[in-house]
């Protein structure tokens, strides 16, 4: 059974911010939803409440950057780029302010529907010059995200997991690297965030049906180590399958496609994720199944890559974790 860690961000942020007084905690009325309520209560001098006003928060953070502070912005991922996109460009990204954008509830990890689901954030952020993008896939990465983000000389957008988070790794994020989780020779699987756990669920079944899997987990999406990826692609026979909690345009699937095209790699690529569609409200396992983001969808992707059925069914996959709809580690039902 995988170890579950409760609210890893809460403790990690507090520890990091207390040790770094130029770090400020900014919040837009989602303080407990972003697990910084304890920090607010214990360190009010390092906390700035900005209300439900994200555009102002973004440019305000730019100003704090000018004053030599390193603001960490806390809200749901969507509210860090959809409404305040212009402010993000002009006040933060262009002047390379050291603003740390902590985006909670990435992709379909929220039942809040279209308005709450950041499904194109990576695509948007990848196209912003000067932006760094990190994504957490387990509790250890959440615990190390503050230090990793704050090491960036410029703005950084992070997809942060919250609540009850599985521990999959035992080493912190090393910005610019990627994790090699399996070293097989047939198929390369590339995942990030919550889809990594799905790939881990599928691995035994894939191996049992004779597919030798190489698996990469990305926590650093931009900048990206293209050569490392190309080396991995060179060591597999068939090609690559990407699985992302994001639309397949502009995210890690596109990143891999661009890397392959730039280098003239002639192998096949299957990109799994949201296929040019919005999502809707529902539980995470339901949405992952509905939109083909789960372990089963991944095995189908591998089948299509190698061009032969593997006969893998739900029963062959490692059990999915089912999060409680109501749990004390969540501030609300979102």
């Amino acid at each position: 059974m995988v170890e579950m860690v409760s609210r890893p961000y809460a403790g990690a942020f507090e520890k990091y911010a207390v040790a770094n007084p130029e770090v400020l905690c900014l919040s837009a009325d989602l303080t407990s939803s972003c697990e910084v309520d304890g920090f607010r209560d214990r360190h009010p001098d390092q906390f700035i409440s900005l209300g439900m006003a994200e555009q102002n928060m973004m440019s305000f953070a730019g100003g704090l950057g000018l004053a030599g502070f390193r603001p960490f912005l806390h809200t749901f991922g969507v509210f860090l780029y959809r409404r305040p996109y212009d402010q993000l460009m002009a006040s933060v990204a262009y002047p390379r302010r050291k603003v740390r954008l902590m985006g909670f509830l990435p992709g379909i990890t929220t039942p809040g529907g279209m308005t709450h689901q950041a499904i194109e954030d990576i695509s948007v952020m990848r196209s912003i010059p000067n932006m760094t993008i990190l994504e957490t896939g387990d509790a250890t990465e959440v615990e190390s995200i503050c230090e990793a983000a704050d090491s960036i000389d410029g703005p950084v957008y992070c997809r942060v997991l919250r609540g009850s988070v599985p521990r999959l790794f035992d080493t912190p994020i090393k910005v610019g690297e990627m994790r090699e989780l399996a070293h097989g020779a047939d198929v390369l699987i590339v995942t990030a965030g919550i889809t990594t756990e799905e790939a881990l669920r599928a691995r035994a079944a894939l191996e049992a049906s004779g597919v030798s899997v190489r698996h990469l987990h990305l926590h650093t999406i931009k900048p990206f180590n293209a050569q490392a990826l190309l080396d991995h692609i060179a060591s597999v026979r068939h090609g690559v399958v990407t699985l992302e909690n994001h639309v397949t345009e502009g995210g890690i699937g596109s990143l891999v496609a661009e890397t392959m095209a730039d280098a003239g790699v002639g192998k096949r690529l299957i990109r799994l994720g949201l296929k040019d569609t919005y999502a809707h409200g529902g539980s995470k396992p339901y949405l992952m199944r509905f939109y083909g983001l789960d372990a089963l969808a991944l095995t189908r992707g591998v089948e299509s890559l190698i061009g032969q059925p593997l006969g893998i069914s739900e029963d062959d996959l490692d059990a999915a974790r089912v999060d409680a709809v109501h749990s004390l580690v969540k501030a609300e039902a979102l």
Binding site: D29, M52, R82, P111, G113, M114, T115, Y278, G282
Partner: protein, 309 residues
């Protein structure tokens, strides 16, 4: 539609349904029912001119998102009747009030009680954060602060077309923290959009707690007036005050009724949870039992017999 209940009865019915739903489901947007019950009841039961619902009493399952390959897509607006020229339109701007709005639809006979059982269930259109395919919704408003602008645009368009129907928005006070709200008022005043009406639930609450402890917004009425709206402060639990306020002349200006409310009206027990009222989840089984007993008594119903949830 003929209203067979008094508006007071509808408001009580809304509180009861939201209470029962929340006890059963181990939590819910209860304080929003406390503060907004009269406003939504008043809108649906007497003020809005709406036609007969055009969608089935028992909501259809989620039917996909808008796309060229989904030609049968439709919104949930049909629960408010057809979009005919003579009828009013309503937007629930803070979409997390959906539970309250669904309860109101049931109370006024526009949706079957089964609709609430589908709330936040996988594959259902009755979403927790009202989506545009959810009953009674016509657009997505889960990103707060966009509702009044949409309504202003629709109202301008209807005016241009000579339609007599009005456009109403139910708003929350948290929305005044968003700059867009002020841009909407400014535009509505500039363009003389007086077929635009809003009622705002001024419960002085937001996610983090009391608004004064998160971001002070000051005198909303004075600010709205300066931006060019006609704005009136009323007791948001007083139906007669609503009836009077809506009669206020407001030529060339939108009318915005500021309904000052209590977030624990009708469920006094919730006061113990102040200032964390945004989403009420029971801290323990003990608290759930206590709330079930106390609130049921106050609302004049039997405690909810819930199973293992």
């Amino acid at each position: 539609m003929l209203n067979s209940k008094t508006t007071d009865a509808v408001a009580l019915g809304i509180r009861r349904r939201v209470f029962e739903h929340s006890i059963r489901n181990n939590g819910g947007y209860m304080s929003q029912a406390c503060s907004a019950a009269e406003q939504i009841a008043w809108l649906y039961n007497e003020e809005l001119k709406l036609g007969q619902p055009t969608l089935p009493m028992i909501p259809k399952p989620f039917g996909g998102v808008p796309s060229a390959s989904n030609p049968d897509y439709h919104t949930g607006a049909g629960y408010n009747g057809p979009a005919a020229p003579q009828f009013d339109r309503l937007f629930i701007a803070p979409a997390h009030y959906a539970l309250v709005a669904y309860a109101a639809l049931i109370e006024v006979g526009r949706m079957a009680p089964e609709g609430l059982d589908m709330f936040n269930k996988d594959g259902s259109s009755v979403e927790m954060i009202g989506a545009e395919h959810s009953p009674g919704m016509e657009v997505h408003n889960g990103t707060l602060g966009i509702g009044l602008s949409t309504a202003a645009g629709l109202a301008w368009g209807r005016k241009r077309r000579g339609e007599p129907g009005r456009v109403w928005v139910f708003m929350s006070d948290g929305e005044v923290q968003e700059g867009q709200t002020w841009e909407a008022v400014q535009a509505a005043a500039y363009h003389g959009i007086d077929n635009l009406y809003a009622i705002m639930d001024v419960n002085a609450q937001q996610c983090d707690g009391a608004m004064s402890s998160v971001m002070e917004v000051g005198d909303i009425r004075a600010k709205l007036e300066l931006f060019g709206a006609r704005a009136i402060d009323i007791d948001g639990h007083d139906l007669d005050a609503m009836r009077q306020a809506v009669a206020e002349p407001h030529d060339g200006r939108p009318l915005i009724i500021l309904a000052h409310t209590s977030p624990f009206r009708g469920m006094s027990f919730l006061e113990r949870r102040f200032p964390r009222l945004h989403y009420v989840r029971f801290k323990s089984e003990q608290e759930r039992v206590e709330m079930n007993t106390e609130i049921a008594r106050e609302l004049g119903v039997e405690p909810v017999a819930y199973g293992e949830h």
